[in-house]
Amino acid sequence: MEPMKPMKSCADDGDCCSLNNDTNNKKINVRQVSLGLLGLALWYVVYKQLLPFSHFFSYGLLGMEKGSHLGEAIQFFVYDTPKVMMLLTLIVFVVGMLRSFFTQERTRKFLAGKRETAGNVMAALLGIVTPFCSCSAVPLFLGFVQAGVPLGVTFSFLIAAPMVNEIALVLLYGLLGWKVAAIYLGTGLAIAMVAGWVIGRLKLEHLIEDWVQELRAGEAVVIEEKLSWAERIDRGREAVRDIVGKVWIYVVAGIGVGALIHGYVPEDFMASVMGKDAWWSVPVAVVVGIPMYSNAAGIVPVVEALLGKGAALGTVLAFMMSVIALSLPEMVILRKVLKPRLIAVFIAVVGGGILFTGFLFNLII
């Protein structure tokens, strides 16, 4: 892949040194790419040993009986914890590097020229790769409004950014397989696109707080960074230190809960409460999920355990999406720029999309 150069700023300030930079980058590339490949191979070898090791550890070393409650729980924990941590580290590193290409400024500039519909699709996709945390939601919203990004397109971004979360995707893939991960990715994007489009259609621009409206005249300060590959790799490393350092405790706790359920809760325990036949469980899952605020990392192992014990996929997906995408703290922050009615519309539209997804998957799977 060619490094993406900040072409415009280069041309603007005249001191274009991309030629020099390129040769420099390539030198670093050869060494770092080979190092990277070596690391990846090593990662893979270790990863493949995790399952046999967990069996050896629980049933051989500890002498647990296969099929016993405690044995199953321990094996589950010893297998899943390093597996999830390894997947997490790899993906967070890759995404951290990737994100150095997609700054919020670039995304904003890109979306400003887009019409609705196509804009909704692009915004949802960019929501995955643009760096975002819920505390930057408001400035980001202001920036989008100020740059003239349509309201519905802005919402597509705001919905997709937290919901289609790389950590959640990795965990779903690692714990439940690629199909569930793909379903989550697909429906998450679809909800962001459609909900944003609907909000755009409703023409609710007057429900943005008045002081925000007056911003349109202002000018956004943009500082283009020129990053070398070494710096991008640094970004990846920082992301790993930052994110993995923060979420590992949730992962371990989540898997711990998962392990207990895995070993001790009877097979069909959840079927009556969260099974396919209990249609009311989908709306309940959504409502219960709103005040709950957990990061994706903590919720997925619990989801895995619920699914394993007979809960229906649609219900569990609805619960997970509601916890991640509709969070009370984010609503409180967004209140500063949105009038209450618009927040209510936002919750209703996104909640409706999640409900639909839940019912749909309970029906077809």
């Binding site: 945390c133 930057s136 408001v138 980001l140 100020q146 300060v221 960074e225």
Partner: protein, 77 residues
Amino acid sequence: MEIKVCGPGCASCDKTQKIVEAAVAAQGVEATISKVTDFQEMAKLGIFSTPAVVIDGEVKSVGNVPKQTEVEGWLKS
């Protein structure tokens, strides 16, 4: 010198604040460091992603946590 650190108070904003304080101490310059948590004020400065650092009215960084050496460089000029 007047330094403003803009951010609603998340982890990266606190980190930026500490880095700026450390840089000021290391360079031994006289500076007042203040925190801007109000979005409206940030928007007036043209800041739409956080954390951001403003020195004497000039926006030095937006949307990322600067390195201490970077901040020290801004203080010198």
